[in-house]
């Protein structure tokens, strides 16, 4: 009984201390995602407020649509990249 108790205590400590530190790759990818999203949002708001300059004919994709599509594609690419990089883990 005493032995089992000691075993548990010995196993607990390593769990707490490493705390899954944010790796450099993760940090950069999170930052890239947040920045690209905020950039997309800023562009959308800017283009909507300056509609006469940025809206093209309705027969084409508007810059706002392209910005949205780019952000969506970037999300998928980043996710795929991360899974690819960690494929061997």
């Amino acid at each position: 009984m005493q032995g089992a108790s000691l075993h548990k205590t010995a196993e607990i400590v390593p769990l707490r201390s490493p705390a899954n530190r944010l790796g450099a790759l993760r940090f950069r990818l999170v930052l890239a995602m947040i920045v690209s999203y905020l950039a997309m949002m800023a562009f959308l708001i800017h283009s909507a407020r300056h509609a006469t300059q940025t809206i093209v004919l309705a027969s084409d994709f508007s810059p706002a649509m392209i910005a949205l599509a780019s952000c969506m594609a970037f999300s998928v690419i980043l996710t795929g990249l991360f899974v690819l990089v960690r494929h061997g883990d």
Partner: protein, 539 residues
């Protein structure tokens, strides 16, 4: 038996509505619709019974015994996101105001990399039934579990509202019955389905539904494009000429009015997905971290594909439904509400058979998503709230029983809230739920995983602040305060408070944690669950 009764009640009512209103063009339940509905109901019933036989333990009931593969989980996660709220709400939002709806879609998709990079793998490594398992690895268990349970139940309730509103409108339109009876009937079906089958049934219904939803959406999108000779320019031109705002539907409009409100909504969605209990629960259904990681990738691809098709469906509905007296009134509002844009569009391009199929898929979507929500809420109630309040671990039998009772209680709550929120845009309600998740759950999860300095005191203070502030500010915002409660001008000017509450929650956690360090001995003595976890992991 209750499920059979509820099913019979639903389709019995549908049949009456069909015979009574057979002359109506929209408010009728056509034969094809009923056939598809019955087929889906029977299928879900069979899955429920099959899963119910296996759901004899709480881990099987709540997490399908962690035996779901990465591909299956990816489809199920995608299915969770292809909810009625997203399918009906985003299409409705695009129909009403163009690109605004796609902005919400892009925000939801952008939240998935955040989930993958920050929480998916640690959650699978450290958790078992709820995200509180991760927090209690380094924090005192009791107070954290009470907090996590409370926040989970609040978030699940908000999310339930969006699904119930979509369900009520859908059934009301298809079977020509009132919104109230429709919500009650759907609610009964959902309660029985989730109580019986648990996570395995919810997962398999999600998988089947995700495949059907992608297939159905692809069919509508293809038929819409075929109407315009697969020329997207023609589609946009027709949509712009039909919409009262003209070319402005090619740009965001509503979200451009107030940059702070848009930023707050965006932050809420971006970080909120990583705090949604029913999404986090999905990572406990796979066997290891690698499966969790790969399943997010599959899900992100499928969700991206689905949103791309919603784009065509949304603009197609503007081009083909606006100005058509069969589907919309003179002001352009669709019969049954703008949330029904994809159903009407399916009828317009594919006739009653496609409309019936899409309606039944949307119905299956509601069943599956709400089941996942109820199970997430039930898991948290049994493993967090009851354990936290009682201060003792539950045995297997008691945990299973409490989980099932909690699922039923949450179902009843969902019905009541669904009745109170009739007419609200469901996509927006989803955004509010994610804002609360971003404020209450995400900061705690992030700090618990990545910051060793977080103390129990800091987590409880920050989490309580995040939960209360986000709920109160959301309630005082324009949607709840003015539209739902009708109390006049909103006290808080923004619908989503996440821009303020997320950083403030992080700050409170940090400030309280560094103000007084937690003694290591205190932590160890308060952590019986950690030892249990390690012991079971080693075994």
């Amino acid at each position: 038996m209750l499920l059979l009764l509820a099913t019979a009640f639903t389709f019995g009512a549908g049949g009456s509505a069909y015979s009574a209103q057979s002359d109506s063009q929209i408010h009728q339940a056509e034969f094809s619709t009923i056939v598809f509905f019955v087929a889906f109901a029977v299928l879900t019933l069979l899955i429920s019974f099959w899963a119910a036989r296996r759901a004899t333990s709480s881990s099987e009931y709540l997490t399908a015994g962690s035996s779901i593969s990465a591909g299956q989980n990816g489809l199920a996660i995608a299915g969770d996101y292809m909810s009625a709220g997203a399918f009906l709400g985003l299409s409705g939002a695009i129909y009403a105001s163009g690109l605004d709806g796609m902005f919400l879609a892009a925000s939801y998709l952008a939240s998935w990399p955040i989930v993958l990079f920050l929480v998916a793998e640690p959650l699978r490594r450290l958790g078992k039934y709820s995200f509180a398992d991760v927090l209690t690895h380094k924090l005192r268990e009791r107070s954290i579990r009470i907090l996590a349970g409370a926040s989970t139940l609040v978030i699940v309730s908000f999310y339930l509202v969006a699904q119930m509103v979509g369900a009520g409108e859908l059934i009301s339109l298809l079977f020509g019955i009132g919104y109230g009876p429709a919500v009650i009937m759907v609610g009964l079906l959902m309660i029985v389905f989730s109580t019986l089958g648990g996570m395995r049934a919810a997962t398999w219904v999600q998988i089947i539904k995700a495949i059907l939803m992608i297939g159905g959406s692809a069919m509508i999108a293809t038929l819409v494009l075929a109407r315009f000779g697969f020329n997207v320019s023609d589609l946009f031109r027709t949509a712009a000429s039909n919409h009262p705002t003209g070319n402005k539907i090619m740009d965001i409009r509503g979200f451009a009015q107030d940059a702070v409100a848009t930023l707050s909504l965006g932050i809420g969605i971006l970080f909120g997905t990583a705090g949604l209990p029913h999404i986090l629960m999905r990572f406990f259904t796979v066997s290891d971290e690698r499966a969790a990681r790969v399943s997010v990738f599959y899900a992100t691809c499928l969700i991206g594909l689905f949103f791309a098709m919603l784009f065509v469906i949304g603009y197609g509905s503007i081009a083909l439904l606006r100005g058509d007296a069969t589907y919309a009134n003179a002001s352009g509002a669709l019969f049954g509400g703008n949330n029904l844009a994809p159903i009407h569009l399916a009828r317009a391009v594919g006739g009653s058979i496609l409309a019936g199929f899409i309606s039944a898929v949307a119905f299956a979507t509601i069943l599956a998503v709400v089941s996942g929500l109820l199970i997430a809420g039930a898991s948290s109630a049994a493993n967090d709230l009851v354990v936290g309040l009682s201060g003792r671990q539950l045995d297997e039998r008691m945990r299973l029983r409490i989980s099932r009772i909690a699922a039923m209680a949450l179902g009843v709550l969902g019905i009541l809230l669904g009745l109170a929120c009739e007419g609200q845009n469901v996509a927006y309600l989803l955004a509010l739920a994610t804002a609360i998740a971003a404020s209450a759950n995400f900061p705690l999860l992030l700090l618990a995983i990545y910051w060793d300095g977080l103390t129990t005191r800091g987590a409880v203070a920050g989490g309580t602040f995040g939960l209360i502030s986000s709920v109160v500010l959301t309630a005082m915002g324009p949607t709840i305060w003015s539209k739902v409660l009708g109390l006049g001008p909103a006290i808080f000017p923004y619908d989503s408070p996440a821009l303020f509450t997320v950083p403030l929650t992080l700050f409170v956690c940090w400030a309280v944690s560094i103000a007084k360090a937690e003694p290591e001995e205190d932590w160890r003595l308060a952590q019986p669950a950690v030892a249990q976890y390690v012991e079971s992991s080693n075994a």
